[in-house]
């Protein structure tokens, strides 16, 4: 295989890696998006599932609706469109969350449930100065949600195991290995550790993918 043929293959590997929002280009691990609720509120797997539900209800509808509304408004006001859309979608999402969970359960998330509206993981798309097609918004909203939820569930489960020695409230190990994991400072430490390992694994996979397309 010639060098000229090799270049497009390398580019296709990069493109595939960029599109994979779950593992190779996870929004939490690679871009540091949505860290505030992850660090403060995702202390147990139950909290992680509640936050995941909220993200699922909020992220994709906001992105699709904002992409649609941006077509009919001045594009320079796209930040306002995205923020207002997120606020409007949150009203419905909060109603559905109220049906799914009790007020006491939602109180565990505290301020970080409404703060999702202003989180970059929901609003970041408005920074790009190109209009987004509705179909693309739907696809990217769904895969970004999947990636965020994967990281959220993994880190919240890990924090519950390390900080309390339980999973869903049931004991899984003898005791708490690292009680600080329940605090925001411990959340930063656990998330940083997960990021290190995840990034190393992603780099290894990317290297393997590149080796597969290298000329013999």
């Amino acid at each position: 295989m010639s060098e000229l043929q090799h270049e497009p293959l390398q580019a296709s590997v990069e493109k595939r890696a960029r599109r994979d929002r779950v593992f190779l280009n996870n929004p939490v691990i690679m871009q540091g998006l949505g860290l505030a609720p992850l660090i403060v509120a995702a202390t147990t797997l139950k909290n992680g599932i509640m936050l995941s539900t909220a993200v699922l209800l909020l992220l994709t509808p906001t992105r699709v609706l904002a992409a649609l509304l941006s077509r009919f408004s001045y594009f320079r006001f796209r930040g306002l469109i995205y923020a207002l859309t997120a606020g409007a979608v949150y009203v419905g999402a909060r109603y559905l969350m109220g049906l799914l969970y009790t007020p006491a359960e939602l109180a565990l998330l505290g301020l970080y449930l409404p703060l999702l509206v202003a989180d970059p993981i929901v609003l970041k798309r408005y920074e790009r100065p190109q209009r987004e097609r509705t179909r693309t918004a739907l696809r990217k909203g769904l895969i970004t949600s999947c990636g965020y939820i994967a990281a959220l569930l993994f880190i919240s489960a890990l924090r519950e195991i390390l900080g309390l020695g339980t999973l869903f409230g049931s004991p899984v190990i003898g005791g708490a290995l690292f009680p600080m994991a329940q605090l925001p400072s411990g959340g930063f430490m656990v998330t940083a550790l997960v990021m290190c390992v995840w990034r190393a694994a992603a780099a290894g996979v990317k290297k393997q993918m590149s080796l597969e397309v290298e000329p013999l």
């Binding site: 690292f178 009680p179 600080m180 400072s185 430490m189 940083a192």
Partner: protein
């Protein structure tokens, strides 16, 4: 002046400075062994081994060869152990040393680059995670096994009694000799002062940082004593109570130990020597605020972490500015 005496005045390199710290931990460890048996030695060995293991692990992860001349992790781990009680679990020591070495030191780029004192960070993590293990101390001459600490009576520290508004029931003689319930290596003031003199003569530490630190601590303790909850009375009244407060505040809560081993850490203190006294003053004031209003007895570690963040601004504040005359726009 002969060549030998001229050489002795040279500032030691980082390897020698760290080695000196380890040497000066040894007298404190010997005293702790006298008070608590062999367990402090076991804790120190575990801490030093963990620190070395972390260094080798990071070198392997970064595909570097381990630098044998870089020995800063061992004194950091030993200083951390000196702040803990003799009954602390080995697991707590291992985790706190891992945090101190991997997160406090290597995550920021290794020796010479970290902004926060690794020992203080390790202690803060241990105190927040396991307060029941870290904030209760055995009395000297308790029967503490190398691996078994069950049945040992644990007491709260003198600093805790002060925080509760009481007066510790410890004589001045015991306070100076370190014969009271406290951390492994921070209670014996006399030995710590002897270590400080050696380190000062070797130019491993400067006196301006501890001087400012102890001055600020003494001023707060004298003018606003916690003993008998005196409040903001004129300073010439209740002089005996103020002196009592001064005595207990300075001699408890690992203040003297921190003044020698913790706040003088050459990487995290300001590089500019003219900022050292102000750094010490700020650190002393913050330490007393953490002790007065914080939840933990050894507030100095939390104060060190907070004030370490101000080292660089203090450096630039006290830097000598070149005269700018004749410069016009």
């Amino acid at each position: 002046m002969s060549n030998e005496s001229a050489l002795s005045l040279q500032r030691p390199g980082s390897y020698e400075a760290n080695r000196d710290i380890v040497f000066m931990i040894l007298p404190l460890l010997a005293l702790a062994t006298f008070f608590y048996g062999m367990r402090p030695i076991g804790l120190c060995l575990v801490a030093a081994f963990t620190a070395m293991l972390c260094d080798h692990l990071v070198a392997w992860l970064r595909s570097h060869t381990h630098n044998r001349e870089e020995n800063s992790s061992i004194p950091a781990a030993l200083v951390l152990v000196m702040l803990l009680p003799a009954t602390v679990h080995y697991y707590v020591v291992i985790v706190s040393v891992i945090v101190a070495t991997m997160l406090g030191k290597h995550a920021f780029g290794g020796y010479g680059h970290y902004p926060f004192n690794p020992s203080a960070l390790g202690y803060a993590v241990a105190a927040v995670s396991w307060p029941g293990q870290v904030l209760f101390y055995p009395t000297p001459f308790s029967e503490i096994g190398l691996f078994d600490v069950s049945g040992v009576t644990l007491l709260e520290s003198a600093a805790h009694t002060l925080r509760a508004g009481g007066v510790p029931n410890t004589s001045l003689f015991d306070l100076v000799l370190g014969s009271y319930a406290g951390p492994i290596g921070t209670t014996s003031v006399l030995v710590i002062i002897a270590c400080a003199m050696y380190l000062w003569m070797r130019r491993g530490i400067t006196l301006s940082v501890p001087l400012g630190f102890l001055l600020a601590c003494a001023a707060v303790a004298f003018f606003y004593p916690r003993v008998n909850t005196l409040g903001l009375e004129p300073p010439w009244l209740y002089l005996d109570t103020r002196l009592l407060s001064l005595r207990y505040e300075i001699l408890s809560g690992a203040l003297i130990f921190a003044a020698v081993f913790l706040i003088n850490e050459p990487v995290t203190r300001p590089k500019n020597t003219r900022a050292h006294f102000a750094y010490g003053l700020l650190l002393g004031f913050m330490t007393m605020m953490f002790r007065y209003f914080g939840s933990y007895d050894t507030g100095v570690c939390f104060a060190v972490l907070a004030v370490n963040a101000l080292s660089a601004p203090l450096d630039s504040l006290f830097s000598r500015r070149a005269p700018q005359k004749g410069v016009r726009a």
